[in-house]
Symmetry: C2
């Protein structure tokens, strides 16, 4: 590493560019000639030492070391809402990482109120608990269970809203998982993230967070929802139904969109006004009827079909002990006819096989064409208009929750609409408008 | 089958409904108590004999038997265009199936002109060749090679347009495959399908086909494109760039949409006017410079990542001799950190691993977060803004075409923009407008 240590401030000359930043610890696979630098905008970049000139500006400019333990904190505010903020990690809580220049994401109640002063005005109490400090692609069904338990505790303790900070990558999956787990919710459970880290002027985290108190106060629904920007400016924030939302863009602030559904509600800014969009929702339940239900199986596989896919992959999954396979098929719910034999073997061995569509929009109908009918005859079950990701989570939840039910009972539950993961009536508003010149 | 034979006309009473249709042959997996009936709208339905009353209306009402051999035919017209129509199967050529009531899709030049009288007015010659009679989910990379060869022959024979009839399910994959295969095209190569079979009043096949002569005459581009409805009425048809198009809806007529790009052109109806939409296109090449390039490997796998995915699947693919894996990762191009070790092992064994995003829209950037950087360090290559499906086809084409190149040379070709499969500049028009209340 040519003498540079994590925490050093360095200046890098790369062709005509000059960058200044903090040296970060190397990762397991870093090449010996690469230096990782955290720039003032919060991004890390890898610098090839063979191509750049690097000079030391300040030795040990910031402390970069082990992460501190997960933090818990609580503050009082001047309002009336009891808010619980559970952090799992992600860009939304990356401000601290930048401020210290260290790989130490962490957030306290004081810092959260510093970012979003509305919370002090609106909340009587705000607790901030770090559950994890993970990029969301590292979350697994085991994490969904723990998050569900922690939310359930807060619901039972009488909080007015639970806000979950989460990386955006797998936010839709976690939202679905919580929706199947948390039933008869008396309050909205809101998953919030940011596409731009909180230290950037263009960050979306602040108004996404601001919207949560408005939703907590005014939403008639007791649903798990994803609360993210609706546009690329700061005009409004949407609450999407957790089982019908998907990250549709790698980087735009309005990356999250409802598929085969319309958003539940929006909060407009700067006036912070709540508007209900979708009249089909699960109303808030009575506090006493709230239930946390079930677990998740890690033996469910989401398999995207592609032309020429070798059927051996299905046999492999059966042999490895998978208990469920959600196939992301083509069109109305198809795979190549020659793979139907493997699907039949899977279902005969007690594996639940469900079929969704890689088109994302629309509804599976496996009765129209030969390969769909063959799949039905081989025991595969159609997924209506469920997103492949939601279907995967639902099957993981069903198999985890009812380990003793036989596949036909699981299939019957799978095809039952539980928390509006299926939309009985698709219309024009459920398909976006595309630019056609 | 309770005495009913394929070809019999029967009347079915199912609760309050009465249906009439033709008994179809059973499939391999039909349950003994199911009768498959073709309805007058062309759809087949499975009838549970235990729940329905079925009576015979006419024994052997239509001939249902073996399919006739693949057909070739040619007719002259009164226009000036030389058109070649290659059929691979799919809904667009299902009219005949309905008319005879038999499982015999087949199309002749006479029938095509009967459906689309414009062809007689505009074409001096129209040949119709049945290459296959397949549902598109049954097509494989081997079929892409054959289709490419047949198109190349027609280009070399001086046809003014080649029109490929194709099932819609995997149309985008085939369009990509042809785009990498057919270089310096002097004419547009148009893949056309139908979301509603040609025997239904709402069919989209007729104006999709009508649009092809306008595109053949006026398009400045020599590209492989998908020609499908732009809206749900018969107002316009779009020509989408083959490497940037995706089936986005299970059933709508405007299911095909350009992603990270705008359509190349539209043809408006009833006036049948050609409008160029996209000024970034591959211009028609000189006839002498046209080339057909390469083959496709069947040892490439498209792997969609999901939370908790067990890394063993990557090891399995390496052990099975796959030479390329396209990962459909999350967000900017991520998978769980614990699977990076398996990716590293794959690349060390010479497997090319590329990363795309399941968001579909936007561009992969693996330098922003830790797991992306780790993937790069493990030898994975980013896919810019390529669709996962296009990335899969491109890698299959590269490995099939250059079997002796080493992985680093394949990676270098993979990250090179060849036929506008990457869009260097994404803007507002490349993301659709969603209903937000």
């Amino acid at each position: 590493m040519a003498g540079f240590k994590p925490g050093d401030r360095v200046r890098v000359r790369l062709r005509e560019n000059v960058l200044e930043g903090i040296v970060m610890p190397k990762t397991e696979f870093s090449s010996p000639s690469t230096l990782i630098i955290k720039l003032p905008n919060g991004y890390n970049v890898g610098i090839d030492l063979e191509k750049a000139e690097v000079e030391l500006v300040e030795r040990g400019a910031v402390a970069v070391g082990e992460s501190p333990p997960l933090a818990k904190s609580k503050v009082s505010g001047e309002g009336d809402l009891r808010l619980s903020f559970l952090s799992t990690g992600g860009t939304i809580v990356s401000k601290v990482e930048y401020e210290t220049g260290a790989v130490k994401p962490a957030i306290t109640a004081e810092e959260l109120i510093g970012m979003v002063p509305d919370f002090r005005d609106e909340a009587s109490e705000i607790e901030v608990i770090e559950l994890y400090r993970l990029l969301s692609e590292d979350l697994t069904p085991k994490h969904w269970e723990r998050i569900g338990e922690e939310v359930a505790k807060r619901v039972e303790e009488g909080y007015d809203a639970v806000i979950i900070a989460h990386g955006t990558d797998t936010m839709g999956y976690t939202a679905s998982a919580l929706a199947f787990t948390l039933r008869n919710l008396p309050i909205p459970v809101m998953i919030v993230g940011a596409q731009r880290s909180s230290d950037r002027p263009s960050t979306d985290s602040v108004i996404n967070l601001k919207a949560t108190t408005s939703i907590a106060r005014h939403a008639p629904f007791g649903e798990v929802c994803v609360v993210m920007h609706g546009d690329t400016s700061d005009t409004y924030v949407l609450a999407h139904r957790g089982v019908k939302v998907r990250k549709m863009h790698t980087s735009r602030r309005d990356a999250f969109q409802s598929i085969n559904d319309v958003p539940l509600a929006k909060v407009t800014f700067p006036e912070k006004e709540f508007h209900l969009i979708n009249r089909r929702y699960l109303p808030r339940g009575e506090r006493g009827r709230f239930r946390k239900v079930g677990r998740f199986s890690d033996k469910v596989f989401l398999l995207k079909f592609f032309p020429g896919m070798e059927c051996g992959i299905i046999d492999y999954l059966v042999d490895k002990g998978y208990r469920g396979i959600v196939i992301e098929g083509t069109g109305l719910g198809h795979i190549r006819g020659s793979c139907v034999e493997s699907v039949k073997r899977a279902t005969e061995e007690g594996v639940v096989v469900a079929v969704t569509s890689q088109t994302l929009f629309g509804r599976v109908n496996m009765n129209v064409y030969t390969n769909g009918r063959k799949l039905i005859e081989a025991g595969a079950i159609p997924s209506s208009d469920m997103l492949p990701e939601t279907a995967f989570v639902k099957l993981s939840w069903l198999i985890g929750t009812y380990p003793d039910k036989d596949p036909s009972e699981i299939a019957s539950l799978y095809t039952t609409n539980m928390v509006n993961e299926m939309n009985p009536s698709l219309d024009m508003n459920h398909y976006p408008g595309w630019y056609h010149g």
